[in-house]
């Protein structure tokens, strides 16, 4: 077992990047991901990590540099948040379509405007359909483990896709948490050197990024989607092996006291740990409540989700993003769609809250539980979703 130390989550993320022996880091400052690249620049300048640190002039170039790095068969890392992600958006999509593996940490932050440096998932949802493997990490240890997991899965020749790790800005990036480091031998066993199927090299010239005529385009895109869907078996294998190696087993949908639950909260990101306390409190009151935490966001774990819902009668879906003019939060919309064909569809209530780090406390989640029960007993179809904790609502 590796050493266990207390460290800011951003710093431990950078230490995991070092353990992954990345070759190039493209870095552009944006709050709240800055501590990660700052620490990486220290590791490189102190000679602790043998990598090229490329301080690019924009996030658009950060992602472009990473595509160039991955295209020659080297290991690339970058991280960003909200506006940075929006600026690099174009290349985020292309990296996936070119099947170039890399790892990006997205320190989740609100999308402007008004400009806000604080945390929610509006940036995550803005690139939901970009074709990357996307996972949520809920604490510092999970961030550390998933950096290594990201390279392991993305670089698998059966997958060849970039991997994005979502971590809540400030709430996770800026807190000190105990993190258990891996032993070097564990990393070596888990993460082999990157061996791409094709790489840019004069000895074996290849053309990458050719343009697709309508006669080819659909086939290329469907193949890309199939690659993402099929990556799940590699994801599961990589999680199992990680568990065997370091004793932490991860699953696409993490569950907490959900087996016999009548009502399930469903969360993404750091809300999960708060809601687990709410579940305990409600259980103490004799209410059969449980929690599902969505870890794997893309590819969407449809079977695991349906199975985890089981016979629960009520789902309380907590969204941290708005789908303007839509039918609820992005997570709730996906989950409703996932359950559409189920014979015994549960009641689904949906709350959008915690935008720009607005605090959502244990009492707030209890209120949401009570409100859900009221709605379900009244007319469950009364409203598809509601904003929680907003003045005037």
């Amino acid at each position: 077992m590796g050493k266990r130390i207390g460290l800011e989550v951003s710093l431990s993320a950078a230490e995991a990047v070092k353990m992954a022996d990345v070759d190039c880091i493209a870095a552009y400052p944006i709050t709240p991901q800055t501590h990660i690249v700052e620490h990486l620049s220290e590791l490189v300048n102190d000679g602790e990590l043998d990598a090229e640190f490329i301080p690019v002039e924009s996030e658009h170039s950060a992602m472009s540099v990473c595509t160039g790095v991955a295209a020659v068969g080297a290991r690339a890392f970058t991280c960003t948040s909200s506006q940075g992600l929006a600026l690099m958006n174009e290349i985020v999509h292309i990296a996936a379509s070119m099947r170039l593996p890399m790892v990006m940490i997205l320190a989740n932050r609100s999308m402007s405007g008004p400009i806000s440096i604080w945390n929610d998932h509006t940036d995550v949802m803005s690139i939901r359909d970009c074709g990357w493997i996307q996972v949520f990490a809920n604490n510092g240890q999970e961030v550390f483990d998933h950096v290594l997991f990201g390279y392991r899965v993305g670089e698998s020749q059966k997958v060849m896709l970039p991997v994005m790790i979502h971590i809540d800005g400030f709430i996770l990036t800026h807190v000190i948490e105990p993190v258990e480091f891996w032993e070097t031998q564990q990393v070596e066993r888990y993460l082999p050197a990157f061996k791409p199927i094709h790489a840019l090299h004069p000895d074996r010239p290849v053309t990458m990024g050719a343009f697709g005529m309508p006669s080819m385009f659909s086939e290329v895109k469907v193949a890309q989607d199939e690659a993402l869907i099929q990556s799940k078996s590699e994801i599961m294998a990589a999680w199992n092996e990680l568990g065997d190696l370091v004793g932490r087993y991860y699953r696409p949908i993490e569950t907490y006291r959900s087996e016999d639950a009548e009502t399930l909260f469903i969360t993404q990101g750091s809300f999960g740990e708060t809601v687990s306390l709410v579940v305990d409190a409600l259980r103490d009151e004799g209410k059969r409540v449980g929690l599902l935490m969505d870890r794997l966001w893309r590819p969407f774990p449809l079977d695991e989700f349906r199975q985890a819902v089981g016979n629960a009668r009520n789902l309380i879906v907590i969204d941290r993003a708005i789908s303007y003019g839509g039918q609820g939060g992005p997570l709730a919309m996906d989950l409703r769609s996932a359950l559409y064909k189920e014979r015994n569809q549960p009641n689904i209530t949906n709350f959008i809250c915690g935008l720009a780090s607005r605090d959502v406390t244990i009492d707030d989640f209890k209120n949401m539980f009570n409100r859900s029960m009221e709605k379900i007993e009244g007319n469950p179809r009364e409203e598809d979703f509601e904003y929680y904790g907003v003045r005037g609502k």
Binding site: S64, V69, V72, T207, M216
Partner: protein, 311 residues
């Protein structure tokens, strides 16, 4: 022309790295320039190409005209993609995962991909000092999308977004001086070139690849389709651009300016303008304005040559 140049054409690499069969228009001087750049750089080259004519004419999936490793990602980021390829390969070689070898990294884009949408990525890559060569194939408008004006479109030219109208006579801004902007980054090598002067072009590209650090080559690439001139006049138009002083051929080596082709007394700009449909509408006053500007800029360039060759 130096006497050695008479037989020197035979010394140009006979191998094709940008192979025949591409879909460029008849008389496309840009395709010719790309071919010459490939010959100058040879096989050990990795190309990062921006979206644009050259990407479209050479890589309709599943075909390719490229016999060297080649990547296209997007429009504005050729310099950043090349930065990544260069840095990645450098790290792999240093860490012993690839055999050490001298590889040239070429980023290429058109004038839109360079002086408009790609100028930020280019400036970043030049400032960071990556060991690569950036070639701008300047055909003076967005030809791939249908001849829209760019910041490299010359004053007076009629394009589809700067049409010669009843009130506004075509492009009313002066061509952005991209080679000077590149030179302002204090990089080791900057040059202008034109495929109408193939030996000059090849020598400059070779020199750019040899220097340690970034090199920038700005190649005027005559576009018969967009300039409205017969394809057989492509090479001649390039020569006239140089002989009139509209596009002087020079290099800036570690800050020292040198005119590499000095054609002596400049020909009048009308010799260059009158063969092109895009300038057909120009009246005498507009032509006089262009003539005056060309002479002024040429004199300014000669002053820089004089000033920097002395030290």
């Amino acid at each position: 022309m130096e006497p050695t140049n008479v037989y020197a054409y035979k010394l140009i690499n006979r191998k094709e790295y940008f192979s025949p069969g591409h879909r460029a228009c008849q008389g496309c001087a840009e395709a010719l320039a790309v071919r010459l750049v490939g010959k100058a750089l040879g096989r050990d080259t990795v190309v990062a190409c921006a979206t644009g004519c050259m990407e479209v004419v050479s890589t309709p999936l599943p075909f390719t005209n490229w016999n060297v490793p080649w990547i296209h990602v997007a429009f504005e980021n050729a310099a950043a993609v090349a930065s990544g390829a260069e840095a990645g390969m450098k790290a792999l070689m240093r860490k012993g995962r690839l055999p050490k070898k001298r590889i040239t990294f070429l980023a290429m884009a058109g004038d839109g991909g360079t002086s408009d949408i790609g100028v930020q990525a280019l400036s970043g890559a030049l400032e960071r000092g990556h060991d690569f060569i950036y070639v701008c194939y300047d055909n003076e408008a967005y030809m791939n999308t249908g001849i829209q004006r760019s910041s490299a479109t010359p004053f007076g030219a009629s394009t589809t977004t700067s049409p010669a109208g009843k009130v506004v006579p075509g492009q009313i801004t002066w061509k952005k001086n991209m080679p000077e902007i590149a030179a302002a980054h204090d990089i080791p090598y900057v040059a202008t070139a034109c495929p109408s002067y193939p030996l000059d072009l090849v020598e400059k590209v070779k020199k750019g690849a040899r220097v340690k650090g970034p090199a920038y080559i700005h190649i005027l690439s005559v576009c018969p389709t967009g300039w409205r001139l017969p394809p057989e006049l492509s090479i001649k138009a390039g020569r006239l651009a140089v002989e009139t002083g509209v596009f002087p051929l020079y290099e800036v080596e570690h800050g020292r300016y040198k005119l590499t082709i000095d054609t002596g007394k400049l020909r009048p700009v009308t010799d260059y303008l009158k063969i092109q449909g895009r300038f057909r509408h120009l009246d005498e006053a507009m032509i006089a304005k262009i003539q005056q500007r060309v002479v002024e800029e040429y004199e300014r360039l000669k002053k820089k040559v004089k000033m920097t060759q002395g030290d």
